[in-house]
């Protein structure tokens, strides 16, 4: 997937810069960058709604004021679920009996804004909101077949979190956040439908 390659390349370049300049107090002036592992669970979705840690979040922001940051974000998440053997009436005379593996993949990206407190302290909490688009792929794997449908939707995600910088002068620390997300994606596979995707999750990562 091309998006994945660009994402990894961007993250890799960012990491090289971060590790190559350990003496700088901040990689880019008046900015922050987060790279997070993400664990999420879809809510009110009867398709692949098991909690999963197959997710990452990448975001950065510019301090437009001492407390407010604005910047881009992109994240991805896959949730999986095993479905026992069952008989599905596909309509118009078609009937299928099989076991399945379900996968729900989400790739939201857009703009993130934060209000930050205590930006000179070790513990720096914030509240944030992400707005953007969400690409989602809903897949059923059965027999030797992958049947899927993809969709686009509007995405919004409020979150609360904090960055912890052991040495505030050296801006390299830990990031933690709780988030809720809502996307307007709609798609169908076999007899299954997804109408809006809600998630609740946790992010833990690094901040610099």
């Amino acid at each position: 997937m091309k998006t994945s390659k660009y994402l990894k390349f961007a993250a890799f370049c960012t990491a090289l810069l971060a590790f190559a300049t350990p003496s700088k107090a901040q990689l880019f002036p008046h900015t922050y960058i987060n790279v997070d592992w993400q664990m999420g669970v879809p809510l009110s979705t009867s398709f692949a709604d098991k909690a999963s840690g197959w997710g990452m979040n990448f975001e950065g922001g510019y301090f437009v004021t001492p407390a407010i940051t604005v910047g881009p974000f992109i994240s991805y998440q896959t949730n999986l679920e095993s479905i026992d053997r069952q008989t599905l009436d596909l309509g118009d005379g078609s009937i299928l009996t099989t076991n399945q593996e379900h996968a729900l993949y989400q790739l939201p990206f857009g703009v993130t804004a934060r209000y930050n407190w205590m930006t000179k302290r070790v513990f720096q909490p914030y509240v944030g909101m992400k707005l953007g688009a969400c690409y989602a792929e809903m897949s059923s794997y059965y027999y030797v077949v992958k049947q899927y449908s993809d969709s686009w939707g509007f995405y919004m995600s409020p979150e609360i979190g904090a960055s912890i910088f052991p040495n505030p002068d050296y801006r390299m620390g830990i990031h933690m956040a709780l988030y809720y997300s809502f996307a307007t994606n709609q798609s169908d596979v076999l007899i299954y439908s997804v109408n809006n995707i809600n998630n609740f999750g946790v992010r833990i990562g690094i901040s610099f």
Binding site: M1, T3, S4, L7, K8, A11, F12, A15, A18, F19, P22, V35, D36, W37, S52, W54, M56, F58, Y76, T78, L80, S82, R85, T87, D92, G93, S94, I95, L96, T97, T98, N99, Q100, E101, H102, A103, Y105, E137, Y141, Y142, Y143, V144, V145, P166, N167, Y170, M172, G173, I174, G205, I206
Partner: protein, 210 residues
């Protein structure tokens, strides 16, 4: 502390680079067979009374000549279909010219061939399949519904043709019910045979027309 954070950063980046879209493990999908059936919803299956079934199963393989499977295992599979048809209230006849329905069974031995087709005439292009002329004076096949098959090694096809349909040089023989049973191959031939019989039973059980 900074050193620890740097190790954490390396670990996160390793995770990020390892996968974007996670594919599920499909190894468990091999543990069971798949049954797909389809039928013509406009046909009154109660109007049929008799059926004819050949004493062999066509093998779809890599040979250029048609091969037929006739041994004891094949007879057990044919018997499983016969039992289900009898249970459905149809009567087997020895003369195909006198039958209302014809049953043709095919086993995919080697080839892998996927079909997802809305054109009901696609059989014209598949070699060494059951010939429409076997059943009578028809030219080609006709599926009154969309056909979606996955032809992989170890699959069984069971199809029911309407022998009461109008025949003629330009007429096509309608397939009014079909089933595809996949995932039948294991290293144990007895397991394979039992799976196939179970698949046949499931194909009839899940079809609500009899």
């Amino acid at each position: 502390m900074v050193k620890t954070l740097r190790y954490l950063a390396y670990a996160l980046l390793a995770v990020a680079f390892s996968a974007c879209q996670k594919e599920p493990s499909t190894s468990d999908l091999d543990n069971d067979y798949l049954v797909y059936t389809d039928y013509d919803t406009s046909v009154d299956f109660a109007a049929f009374e008799t059926y004819f079934i050949p004493d062999s199963i066509l093998i779809i393989g890599s040979n250029y000549e048609a091969e037929y499977w006739k041994d004891d295992s094949a007879q057990q599979l044919i018997a499983a279909v016969t039992a289900q048809m009898d249970n459905a209230g149809y009567t087997q006849v020895a003369d195909k010219a006198a039958a209302d329905l014809g049953i043709q069974m095919s086993y995919v031995e080697k080839v892998t061939y996927f079909v997802g087709y809305n054109n009901p005439y696609w059989w014209w292009y598949y070699p060494y399949y059951w010939a429409p002329g076997y059943w009578g004076d028809w030219l080609g096949w006709h599926y009154p519904y969309s056909v979606y098959y996955g032809y992989t090694a170890g699959s069984l096809l069971v199809e029911m043709v309407n022998l009461d349909a109008q025949a003629g040089e330009n007429k096509k023989l309608p397939v009014v019910w079909d089933s595809f049973i996949g995932g039948l191959l294991t290293s144990n031939s007895q397991v394979n045979l039992q799976r196939t019989i179970d698949g046949i039973d499931q194909a009839f059980e899940q079809t609500p027309i009899w």
